[in-house]
Amino acid sequence: MQEQDMLNLRSLRAKKARLALKLSGSGSRVIIITMLGLAVLSALLFFASLDRIAYLTSAISLAVAIFVMWYRQDLLVLKSTDDSLDGQLTKEILGILKTGHINPQSVWISLSSNWQSQFFINRFLLAAQVIEQNLSGESADMPVIWDKAKQLASERTSPGIEVGHVVAALLLTSPQLQTIFTQSKLSKDDIEVVLAWLMRTVDASHAPKPYFGGIGRDWTTGFTPHLSEFGKNLSNTTENSGDHFDWLQKTPGVVAIKNALSQGAAGVALIGPPGIGKSSYIAALSNELAEEDEDRNLRHQQIISLSPSMILSRAKGSGEIEHTLMTIMGEASHAGHIILFFDDAQLFFHEGLGSFDITQVLLPVLQDSNLQLIFAMSPNDFQSLKANQSAFAAKLTPVVLAEPDEQSVMRVLEDTTLGMEYKRGVLITYDALRETYRLSGRYEQEMSFPGKAIQLLEEALPYANNGIVTAESIQQAIEQTRGVKAGSAAPVEADELLNLEDEIHKRMINQDRAVSVVASALRRTRAGVANPKRPIGSFLFLGPTGVGKTELAKSIAATYFKNESNIIRLDMSEYQQADDVKRLLAGSTDNTSLIMSVRERPFSVVLLDEIEKAHTNILNLLLQLLDEGQLTDIDGRAASFKDCIIIVTSNAGSQEIREHIARGEELETFESAFIDQLISSNQFKPELLNRFDEIVLFRPLNESELAQVVGLMMQEVNQTLSNQKIVIQLTDAAVAKIVAAGYDARLGARPMRRVLQHAVEDPVANEILSGQIKPGDRVNIDGPDLNL
């Protein structure tokens, strides 16, 4: 058998692995206790002059001790030997695999109880049996799996092939499992990401404890009683917590701060939006300085974080705040080897509730003292500082932190997850982490990555189902905390989409062409063909008044978002001035602005009526909205429109459409020429028209279609009366009379509603009140009955 030629389970290394496995756990403890017992017994026997037995027990005790040393230092370690498969596999694999028939299923069964296998099971929420059932039972499939495992190990420069590598190879090479993963929207890349996460955990567990300077480190620093009262020694905190910041220590942010401090910068402004991890960068820096012994200027420096809120809350007045700070600065300067870190530094830069301006106290420290200070603040706060305290700001070396990319955020999330799981006793799946990244990125605009993702993940822990945090838990958390309907991110099922035209036609009369165009575009988006960084769909509806443009928008909201009220409607005739842009983009100060409406209801149809009346600036904004799927409010925070359907209506060219239809032309025949004409007549810029998914032309309704509109309106009236068990029926003559009275070439079907109210609803209401129509009655209305 080929795989048995490759994997030699009769090799010495394999035998040693099996021996180590047999002795692991309680076996080794029994041997050590026996050895110690025999050693004590030997001493007692020598004391009792029973020399021969004492020699025997001593010999056995020493022999056991020798064996224990071999077991602990060789068998348990079992380093990789050569490039052969059995020379590379770790003892956990070699020790548990049985000689004989080896195939993917048997390998999985042997390894499935190992914690690294469980790591995959838990992250992907896959039952061990499901994996087993979908693995091959053919020995001939093993060489491919061993090769893949070897490749995965060498790509990550692992010293040997771990259980994780073999499990990942099993998952990656099984076509049946790939189908299951694909159905769960997972790819091969996701398996490799989880493998990398697992291997980081393995490496961290093997990593040596970092050296923080020993007992003499603190003796290089003076006593700091006041500083200890108001500050927190980050160097000690990171040392005691055992947290690893290896990855963060090498980031450009930490390197830049370190370089600035090393070159003697009196102050560093650490600039980044909330949530970017400024405190984590400083914790990583403190780790770096504690471990680092190359740079003479920073050797053994300790970072102490000052809490502005504590200083401000304990001081009774401005004089006391200044006195406290002067004392702290004096102590820190005198003590030496201390860098002060001001988190939320903006609280020290201006007068206000819970803040105090102490720049005049800090300026001399920056100018003359040997003390180095780090101030953490947001970009806006730094701009404000430069504007208001230019001399102070000029003394600071700015270090701007960039928002991490998706890969880095996922890595932070993965590392954070293990701590959360341990503390909260939950299990967090991999799809939950992906959903956390996606939803926090889309709906949390106040914070930056990775902070907002970590915050959302923490908020989702109470929504764990049976202790398991899944993508649904994240959706529930964001729905409850942000008030958005994240769960409706998959608003309609595929079969409903396939019949979207029928659904819409339950509410719409004719306009087959418009309905078909819109439905096709929505199907493209739902199928994942369209660009996910733009709105779900964007449509320009062109046509005369009263032909069903708004009704189609409402129908889309009702069918696609399952709620007709999920529509944000703006009359663009109210936005004709350049300044009106501000109203549209108002942030938290105006809850009725477009931005705030979308933040509240991100899954909506945004209906912009009569766009041709809006100011040019608004049209430019529309370009950005259609291109990027987001707008930025006047406070600088982005709002996502990627879950919206944008519908823009216009009456431009209505007369031309009427004329074409009157000549008996079909929409398809003149559509292209009509749009060209709109561009050439400067009614719309080509760059705007090009950005819509579809330009949809609506044609005027004819009399038979208007009769159907009357029918739909009557359905609504009867729906309203249904609780009184009253049914109103119109004869064909009555319908024809209403159409004749309600039809207007300019206003389309719009006057029909008024006519119906006047001719039908008003008389019926009077008769109900007078008792002429009673519950349970069926009322037939004929043409002559109508007072028109």
Binding site: L62, W70, Q73, I215, R217, T220, G222
Partner: protein, 119 residues
């Protein structure tokens, strides 16, 4: 075969590790007692407790004496710790060396004890 594997390790990697162990432990002791830091700051004032002179010669002299006293305390504390760490280092090195020297003989000692017990 496993017995041969054991003997190969015992007189190969196992013995080598005993010698390496002496260096590893010596390094750990040096780190734990911060010997490099203590040596570098040997004459610095104890916990940086220093006096600043006021006006007048007597104050200058007093500050000088205070600071000299602080440096003396620092010097003595550090020297004591360095001496203690040195003793520990020597002790660990000696024990490690003895164990490394006796290491190849241990299987024979076990065998000798067994023979002495039986016969």
């Amino acid at each position: 075969m496993l017995a041969l594997e054991f003997l190969t390790w015992w007189y190969g990697q196992g013995w080598l590790r005993r010698w390496e162990g002496i260096v590893t432990y010596a390094h750990k002791i040096t780190q734990a007692f911060s010997i490099r830091i203590l040596a570098r700051t040997l004459f610095e004032p104890w916990r940086r407790i220093i006096s600043y002179p006021g006006a007048g010669l007597s104050n200058h002299l007093k500050a000088m004496v205070d600071n000299l006293f602080s440096r003396l305390i620092g010097f003595f504390v550090r020297v004591i710790v360095i001496i203690f760490s040195g003793i520990t280092l020597i002790f660990i090195t000696l024990v490690g060396t003895c164990l490394a020297l006796i290491w190849p003989l241990l299987p024979f000692i076990a065998l000798a004890l067994l023979i002495k017990g039986v016969f």
